[in-house]
Symmetry: C2
Subunit: 144 residues, 2 copies
Amino acid sequence: MSDVLKEKYYRDAKPGERLMDFAKRMREIFGKGVVAKLCIEKLNGTEDVVVIDGVRNWEEIEEFEKVGKVIIIAVHASRSVRYSRLMNRGREDDSTSLQDLMKRDFDELQMGIGTVIALADYVITNDSSIEEFNKRAEDLINRL
Amino acid sequence: MSDVLKEKYYRDAKPGERLMDFAKRMREIFGKGVVAKLCIEKLNGTEDVVVIDGVRNWEEIEEFEKVGKVIIIAVHASRSVRYSRLMNRGREDDSTSLQDLMKRDFDELQMGIGTVIALADYVITNDSSIEEFNKRAEDLINRL
């Protein structure tokens, strides 16, 4: 999801407009499902299975449901696990204070991601190693 | 949570007022955390561990955090699993049409339960038998 959004951002953003503000403006103009629409625009309609990463609200799910059967897989880790990972990752665009991280969570929840997680078809818990997570994801994908 | 709410409902509801409307009115008067406050009122303050069932919004979590360390355990099942269970249970106050069930989900999500689920410390998946669920719950409780 963020790839198609960034692509449009680099093409169509106003001078000096930040990505977050651009995303907000796009949602106001084209509706809360706009980033899903940008993804769907990329499809050629003959794909069997498409994996989309980064859904943020239920309206996006409804867009995808218009073009195919949707299976929602939520990836869950506790706040303490996520926050300590982000603190350790230290990527430049990551927030570094606990307060920033909580604000970011509540901003995304405000957008509706909690609804998507609550109504997910499957939840994978991502609370241990990346190897264990990969294993859980592969097990689920094989089951599906 | 629903026990303390019902207790107050039987004591203080207006004649003919429905439980849902009473709950809404209480939240308007006493704030979104009111049912948590009613639970806290029941505690004598010497408990080591208290298990609360039925949190519906983040404000309730904030109330509980004022009086102790809170660990949030979300119980997740897919919509298809939950809906087929509710259809089969046939309890009198259960909705019976798929549309009613979806409306109930979105009503609760509107209240903020998605935020609580998204920010849970642990998620137990409840997608198979009650025996398997009990085992998962006991495993988690023993770990904690």
